[in-house]
Symmetry: C2
Subunit: 333 residues, 2 copies
Amino acid sequence: MTPAGPDRRPTLADVAARAGVSTALASIVMREAPGASATTRERVRRAAEEIGYRPDSRARLLRSSRSRLLGVVFGVQHAFHGDLVSGLYAAAERVGYELALSAVTPGRDERRAVAGLLSDRCEALVLLGPHSPTAALADLAARLPVVVVARSVRSAAVDVVRTADAEGMHLAVDHLVALGRRDVVHVDGGRAPGAAERRRGFREAARRHGLEARVVAGGLTEDDGAAAARALLAGPLPTAVTVFNDRCALGVLDELRRAGRAVPGEVAVVGYDDSRIARLATVDLTSVAQDVAQLTTLAVGRAVARLDGTPVERRELVVPPRLVVRSTTASPR
Amino acid sequence: MTPAGPDRRPTLADVAARAGVSTALASIVMREAPGASATTRERVRRAAEEIGYRPDSRARLLRSSRSRLLGVVFGVQHAFHGDLVSGLYAAAERVGYELALSAVTPGRDERRAVAGLLSDRCEALVLLGPHSPTAALADLAARLPVVVVARSVRSAAVDVVRTADAEGMHLAVDHLVALGRRDVVHVDGGRAPGAAERRRGFREAARRHGLEARVVAGGLTEDDGAAAARALLAGPLPTAVTVFNDRCALGVLDELRRAGRAVPGEVAVVGYDDSRIARLATVDLTSVAQDVAQLTTLAVGRAVARLDGTPVERRELVVPPRLVVRSTTASPR
DNA sequence: GCCTCCTTCTAGAACGTTCTAGGCCAGGGA
DNA sequence: TCCCTGGCCTAGAACGTTCTAGAAGGAGGC
């Protein structure tokens, strides 16, 4: 019978009492720290097992000034953020950190998400494609290390890890031109994180090839893509289209096919993100892939470097993208 | 100059010192508890503001035995889980609880996700479509209240909140029959959470209408749906298809259209989940909608009831689904 | 004057861990 | 004999909160 009620969560003191040692020694055993004999270790471990002891990470963190906890803010809507979160878990584990997740939802904005993490005593924050203004991010960075992923921020206070989106568009345009497609249009992502950079890359590459750099309004969703495709269908059809992201590209594809236009026969289409959608057999979309493993490893690495006080050379880390060619691009029929 | 280094996180004692009161009183003010004069409140609040004080939720939770923290395990891949998480945040906030998120990723299984939440001192767990065997869930439920969402579990130990999936299939089949479609096939979800129930519902409804209850193998993804459609195209085409979920339905749709079959002219298609995909103008899929707001409100409510010791009548709460009719179902051409 | 009651406040003990400082004992060198 | 040294262990103080018990001071009733 435990002293303070039957359903009390077992504590280290309970383990120690049962094993007949001090709590300090029990702590040593549980942490696998040096300073206990083999027999005692065994005894303490068995006691812990028997009463179902689980360390209370909050008490643990309270005591040690370091929490080894990285806060992550992600958008619950974005499939790509899901991939990034997976990568972050793996990267954090490799360097002995834990993750605290906080989601941005339609009813919970970034401020709320960040506030939650701050009171959880995270040592640093990793923000996935944040929408907060630069000033707000800089304010935050005055409190603790902040790493922004997949968006570029013009501030000396925050670290940025992102894909070389302009280069990704170069790859896409070069690929299309090599296929003999010279009338290329870009379907834009508006004010979404990364859109400006991708637009810029498109324009640079088009100019380099001596092409007219035509850009039409698009967006993040399939419906935005469909609308853009309808706009394109109203005029003379280009021979190739680069699209802000895969979801939008899907809308473009669908609308083109509905209008009876052959893809890639008449029009080639390139997406961005290499999401699961792009990889589906029924879609099989050529797309610019972001290197998730690299992005997440660098993001965690940068956060840890800041915490350890390791000198850091550049604020911005840029990861090269990769073009994944599938069946929506080919030479004209 | 703070005593213990310049970048120490400000604590309640700092606030109290600056305001010239005891920490206990500062605590009272920060918690908005009764027992402080208006002028003192104002003074303490200003001091907190000035030094940028943020309560340390871990210390707070350590002290009070209640953590008011609900652990949520979700799959980072599932768009539907994203919707549920959004709803859970809102529902938890309404009853004064916080959420701790723990993701299941390709490299992080449910055991890991749950273990993390347990050491975070969550009072109860909400599991979204868990894959763990019933026995493991029951073990867990012996430690703390467990609510499983969107899957049915045959165990008296855990609470379940789910959609009446069988009824959803009744709605779908009734709708198709009312449209004059009597040759209906179900594309199955295999061992996915909810699949068995949906299959059962389909069979019941078909039998009720005196139809042959034909079921073909499908799955969760677009590719599974495409494969199922190819199987259907190999024989005489049914006049209607119900599909395990929207993603799979999308594959079915795509493959049917590629084969030149008119939807809904020749074949009507009904999906399940009413996901964002189904709502897209380019897809516009008739689908069975799950009531996310209701599911999440009930899940949180049930967890809280267990914690408060409120007597609970049934272990399983079943929420009625709703049929959303769009353009993939109509009378035969 | 004394008692009670209220409001406003404070000291100090929790909470469950880790860490610091030190105790005790055996072994070994002088 | 004495003093180190090293291995194993413990007491007790942190960590930043909240909570309990109670003090101080005034108002009011007798």
